[in-house]
Amino acid sequence: MTEPTALPGSTTPGSDPEVLLHARSITKRFGGLVAVNQAELVIPKGSITSLIGPNGAGKTTFFNVVAGILDPTEGQIVFRGRKMVARAERGWLEPFFWVGPAVVTGIVLLGLWALFASTNPEAGLLGAAVTLGVLVVGLLTGIVRPLWYDRLLDRAGVFKTARPNDMVRAGIGRTFQNIRLFQNMTAIENVLVGMHVKLHSNIVDAILSSRRQDREEAAARARSRELLALVGLQGRDEMTARNLPYGDQRRLEIARALASDPVLLLLDEPTAGMNPNETEEMKRLIAKLRADLGLTILLIEHDMRVVMGVSDRITVLDHGECIAEGTPEEVRANPRVIEAYLGVPAA
């Protein structure tokens, strides 16, 4: 399904500006295994949506598609009006961009050489070297994919699915089911990494130890401390992540995800392994994130107290398919959901 792609901030006809993320017909196959099958999800701005389902239902796989880690076999994700994730389109066209300039340069130089300098072998060699150089630059551009290159591809109708770091730039932050903190870095360093896309010091600033870098780093550290305080980790800046207690590690991961100023926050089982007190705190934190920061949140959860207590809408997956969607009350009463969880048809 091709939707005209648009730059962030603009909307395409037919898409609701209040819909932050729309996942359409997402299917993910791993060889013979269909992990997700035609899953649909609409996330309105400012909402808290939960994704639930029995183990193995495909929730994390779906999450990973949304976060840009996995390519969907079919389907697409439109985020803030812009198609971000889908199977590549017109991928065959891309190599032309890599070698095209070199071919053109080569032909032009060859022509010039033939016309004016064909007796001069060194000029020919120089021309060949220049062509080779252009080829190398073209290949490298394809590898590095700077912004102007992406826009060029957009215009040509070539679609490449977003990589995880592109999703972060677009405004999505995420946490992981099994906590993937940078264990040997301190809490504040973890958050600083999360802030990566918001910082602009580059290698030149680093080498020159410029004042710009100093200012930016100081501001970044201040902001990081704010975020740590927000999730309840004030004063723990310098603690190594691996030394933090489990609950704090989960909160640190959230602080890190918040550092990039996301618009949508993906939380993968944020209360896994927590006791009832910690779960309550996490529930409150999630609600606070929406209320105070205006974040839209999508979470995978198994703990029904959290799900029912905090969600505006719930989507239920089973065996990779959406079997129900609606408000907590609707879902709770849905016979298919009951069957999926309990395994017996409702009376």
């Binding site: 060889g31 880690i69 996995l70 390519d71 990589r163």
Partner: protein, 311 residues
């Protein structure tokens, strides 16, 4: 006129390809087995091939053989003893290396066993150099080159066929062992999911040790065969042979037994073709380019499972 010599040349080169391909296949099998079970590229594996060649050299010269043995019965006995002794010794060497250099690092970050393997590789090279001297050694080519046959205008020594047969027998035995025996099943399950296998009662240490034993023994067989066929060995031959065999394993699909053999023969033929076309000095570069191309465009190799996800 040209046609005949061309056909003869091609035929001769075909058999050359079978020979070197078989040797690479045997080495590649060891790489692929070890990788399949503990996800480690045993950098020192190529050196085991080299050690095998030297060990068989010692065995043969130790028993007093320096040249071709024309009596088929004696030849058979000598070869049998040489093969068994060398493969046993190499197997033990392989187990020792695993036990002392790799097992302690089984749970360490990837960098550690990889660096250790490089260290082991240098240790082996330099030990052999210390024991046998740094210059190339002529090996007893007990399998007579005089035994030849004619096909399509080319004269092919029977040793070529012998090597191919040895390769096939060893490969088939290995496949059958892995597919049918209890230990083979243990190896397969450990390769798929070590923890689960352990929970099912598989003795992981023994299984891994056995894998190293078999892989090293096969490398040893490759070493014997190399010495018999090419007549000279030296302590640096393991390094490039190892890299080439590794390329073969990757080409065929790392972790896949049939793939390793297929890869070995393909690379062997590539090498022979390159030599035929006059580019023998560039073969190393060609083979490594193949490795890089495979890893970049089709990392699962020819027969491996398609793993198409981005990190």
């Amino acid at each position: 006129m040209l046609d005949d010599t061309l056909v003869a040349t091609l035929t001769a080169q075909f058999f050359n390809g079978l020979t070197i391909g078989g040797i690479y296949a045997l080495i590649a099998l060891g790489y692929t087995m070890v990788y399949g079970i503990i996800e480690l590229i045993n950098f020192a594996h190529g050196e085991l091939f080299m050690v095998g060649a030297f060990v068989s050299f010692s065995v043969l010269t130790g028993f007093g053989f320096a040249g071709p043995i024309t009596d088929p019965v004696t030849l058979t006995w000598v070869l049998a003893v040489a093969f068994v002794l060398t493969m046993l010794l190499l197997g033990v060497l392989g187990i020792s290396i695993e036990r002392f250099a790799y097992r302690p690092l089984r749970n360490a970050p990837r960098l550690a066993p990889l660096i250790t393997a490089i260290g082991v590789s240098f240790i082996l090279q330099n030990l052999i150099s210390a024991i046998y001297g740094g210059s190339s050694k002529p090996t007893p080519q007990v399998f007579p080159f005089a035994w030849r046959f004619e096909i399509l205008g080319a004269t092919i020594p029977w040793i070529t066929v012998f090597i191919f047969v040895v390769t096939v027998i060893l490969t088939v035995s290995l496949s059958q062992f892995i597919a049918r025996s209890r230990m083979g099943r243990a190896m397969r399950s450990t390769a798929q999911d070590r923890e689960a296998a352990q929970l099912m009662g598989v003795n992981i240490n023994v299984t891994i040790a056995l894998t190293f034993f078999i892989g090293s023994a096969l490398a040893g067989a490759a070493g014997i065969v190399y010495g018999l066929n090419y007549g000279t060995i030296n302590f640096t031959m393991g390094f490039s042979a190892g890299l080439i065999a590794f390329t073969a394993a990757v080409l065929g699909g790392i972790g896949n037994i049939t793939g390793a053999v297929l890869g070995g023969f393909i690379i062997g033929f590539i090498q022979v073709i390159a030599a035929q076309l006059g580019y023998s000095r560039w073969t190393d570069a060609v083979v490594f380019s193949v490795l890089i191309i495979v890893l970049v465009f089709r990392p699962s190799g020819l027969l491996g499972q398609q793993v198409g996800e981005r990190a």
